[in-house]
């Protein structure tokens, strides 16, 4: 027994010696590379059909400018990236972290502020004025730019024109409407065609977020810190509309993404008000070509300042403060941060609508789309992008939203709205610190 134990101990010592020897070699290697010219950049992103595809297009474009740099694009699910970044940054070891990482705008501030000095400042690389206004809030801290704004989450309302016509409406009757009118149209559609107007997941408050941002409001104040739930006119109106939709029977409830996509691909819902990134999923059902169109987003009727444009999701590129940051920044500055021509390719090949203002005037953006009855969808979206109100998402969007999901449930269950909002405010106050 003693012998066995000593053998085991010895082997453990030996093994750990080996591993430490190995890492020493590794660090000295990468160190010497870092001093001269790093030749490899690692990128983390999610969604092979969208973000990864876009990164690969940029990679090809950059190969013509600087063929010495190899760019490794690693696919991770978004949740995995969030988890890996949190554990990596928190442990204090930068080993294993990528050079460039894609982060959702709603989450950006939570990383930038929770891990100061972990991201490389890009103020010299990104000219804030070149990009859509609302993208600068999430990607910068105290006036210092950290992210290269990437895709626009600009929203629109995808509609089945055939259902609409059966109910006695046309695409024109959807221009410049508010959500109240939208619900009325929904009732008519339901009555005439039996189809639901919209599909919603009660666990996902995306629609509420879209509604409040269209009025320049958010769950928190301009500082991104103080919860503003109780006296938030836009939020109150959005919740009332949400309940009205649920109560009027125009909603087809779904419980996840695949059911959400299934609802419109199978032709069960008449409209999909959401971000432009849904276009590939809408087009996935080729048999519905020519039946869809895109109308501007309805606005809030009672809240002043609400516009027909909003944002849902959207993400940006960030450079980690690790070896090779200069090369990574250089790559981004030559591609996503400035190349309007690249965005044309991105749009035609991948369907990306960027937020670089100069890109909007390109030829790809004004192309007609046969799937949408020849509508120039991209240029419509690009035009709406410019109208999106800039709000500060702050650090706590998802934490507050979890409180809000419960609030919405109890409101739908019959509780008074002001009480519901007050309770949510109280809870947010104690939890956000």
């Amino acid at each position: 027994m003693k012998k066995l134990l000593s053998v085991m101990l010895a082997s453990v010592v030996l093994l750990s010696a080996c591993s430490s020897g190995g890492t020493k070699n590794d660090t000295s290697n990468s160190g010497s590379e870092g001093n001269s010219k790093p030749k490899e950049i690692t990128v983390w992103a999610w969604d092979p059909a969208f973000n990864i595809a876009a990164m690969n297009v940029a990679k090809e474009a950059y190969a013509k400018v600087n063929p010495d740099v190899t760019i490794n694009v690693v696919e991770n699910a978004q949740a995995d990236i969030v988890q890996k970044l949190n554990t990596g940054l928190n442990s204090g070891s930068t080993k294993g972290l990528p050079n460039i990482v894609l982060i959702e705008d709603y989450r950006a501030q939570s990383f930038l502020q929770a891990y100061p000095d972990s991201f490389f400042e890009l103020t010299d690389v990104v000219k804030a004025a070149d990009f859509a206004d609302y993208k600068i809030g999430p990607t910068s801290v105290d006036g210092k730019q950290y992210g290269v704004p990437f895709d626009s989450g600009v929203t629109g309302m995808y509609v089945r024109t055939d259902y609409l016509e059966q109910a006695g409406y046309s695409l024109d009757s959807l221009q410049d409407i508010d959500w109240k009118q939208y619900i009325e149209i929904g009732k008519a559609v339901k009555e005439k065609t039996g189809k639901s107007m919209i599909t919603l997941d009660p666990n996902d408050l995306g629609l509420i977020r879209v509604m409040i941002q269209s009025a320049g409001a958010w769950y928190t104040g301009e500082d991104g810190q103080t919860p503003t739930i109780a006296d938030n006119a836009a939020l109150k109106e959005a919740l009332e509309l949400y309940k009205e939709m649920m109560d009027s029977g125009i909603v087809k409830v779904n419980s996840d993404w695949s059911q959400f996509v299934g609802a419109f691909n199978s032709g069960e819902v008449a409209t999909v008000p959401t971000g432009n990134w849904i276009t590939p999923s809408i087009k996935a059902e080729a048999s519905q070509s020519g039946k869809w169109a895109v109308a501007p987003l309805p606005k809030l009727a009672a809240t002043t300042g609400s516009v027909h444009a909003s944002n849902l999701g959207g993400s940006s590129w960030y450079v980690m403060n690790v070896d090779g940051k200069e090369a990574a920044a250089e790559f981004l500055s030559k591609t996503f941060a400035s190349d309007a021509e690249l965005y044309q390719t991105l749009n035609t090949k991948v369907g990306v609508i960027g937020t670089l203002k100069a890109a909007a005037s390109g030829e790809a953006y004004s192309a007609a789309d046969e799937f949408f009855k020849g509508q120039k969808v991209v240029s419509d979206f690009a035009a709406w992008t410019e109208q999106i109100p800039n709000v500060n998402y702050g650090m706590n969007t998802y934490a507050i939203e979890d409180i809000m999901v419960v609030a919405v449930q109890s409101y739908l269950g019959g509780k008074d709205i002001d009480t519901v909002l007050k309770d949510a405010q109280k809870q947010a106050d104690t939890q956000i610190r």
Binding site: S110, A114, P202, S255, A399, D402, V406, Q409, Q427
Partner: protein, 270 residues
């Protein structure tokens, strides 16, 4: 070795539970986190949900497991091996895979609803996933399906060790099957029943995969478990590892208390 890999992380987590802050900006705040626990409605909801699962699911599952074990122990039963395997099989499936399958089976247009509607047991499809009450029922059905077979194996193996002559003697004395079950089987299996109760309790307190994959904790936190809340605090929201460690330690305390109670109630009185 043991102290490095077991005790060091535990102590570290305990220290962490006295700190608060976002991401890397942690600082000591004493017992603030522990005080916060009691005013945190999300945490209290998660605890309540977990205990609902515990109080309803664990007894149902254990009684079911014991019942099946006795049936399968019957000498006269044919295809014993097949039935035992069939009931044990769920235990070896992947947690995530079965959760995803359950999610689709219990969807609004899933096979369960179609089946019930066709049998005219219900007129409208049940909103299994999106209704707060039915979502809990779905989770309970899912964990019962997966873990009954696991507990059954323990009962079955200890039933095999019970001397058949005891039952024969009881039979001659005129005890029917019912009396035999309660007077012989249950008392003899008592240590195993205690063991399965404790492991099932701990398992339920750590419930995570099913809730995350079937309902994501929804609708409106109606099915959220404590473990999922810990995950959310660490990775879903702006990370607050200090508070997450505090919540984790609350599970440790609950497991300790419940195990002590169960040992007192069910253990041998020495």
């Amino acid at each position: 070795m043991i102290s490095i890999f077991y005790f060091y992380p535990m102590i570290q987590a305990l220290i962490l539970s006295f700190k608060t802050g976002r991401g890397n900006n942690l600082h000591f705040t004493g017992f603030d986190n522990y005080i916060r626990l009691f005013s945190d409605t999300t945490f209290l909801t998660a605890v309540k949900n977990t205990f609902i699962y515990l109080i309803i699911q664990v007894p149902v599952m254990l009684v079911l497991a014991l019942f099946i074990a006795v049936l399968l122990n019957d000498e006269r039963l044919k295809f014993k091996g097949f039935f035992r395997t069939a009931i044990f099989l769920p235990t070896v499936t992947s947690l995530v895979a079965y959760s995803v399958v359950f999610k689709y089976m219990f969807g609004a247009e899933g096979i369960i609803n179609k089946f019930l509607v066709n049998l005219h047991l219900i007129s409208e499809p049940i909103q299994w996933i999106t209704d707060p009450f039915w979502a809990k029922v779905t989770i309970i059905i899912a964990i019962t399906w997966r873990f009954t077979g696991y507990n059954m194996i323990f009962y079955l193996s200890s039933l095999q060790n019970v001397d058949k002559s005891i039952y024969e003697a009881a039979h001659i004395d005129g005890a029917n099957a019912f009396t035999q079950f309660f007077k012989i089987t249950v008392p003899l299996l008592k240590p195993i029943i205690l063991f399965t109760t404790i492991t099932s309790t701990i398992g339920t307190l750590q419930l995570f995969d099913e809730v995350v994959n079937i309902t994501k904790g929804g609708p409106g936190n109606a099915t959220m478990s404590i473990s999922q809340y810990i995950y959310n605090l660490s990775f879903e929201y702006t990370p607050n590892f200090g508070y997450a460690a505090t919540v984790s330690y609350s599970i440790v305390v609950m497991v300790l208390i419940l195990t002590l109670i169960q040992n007192k109630v069910g253990g041998d009185k020495r």
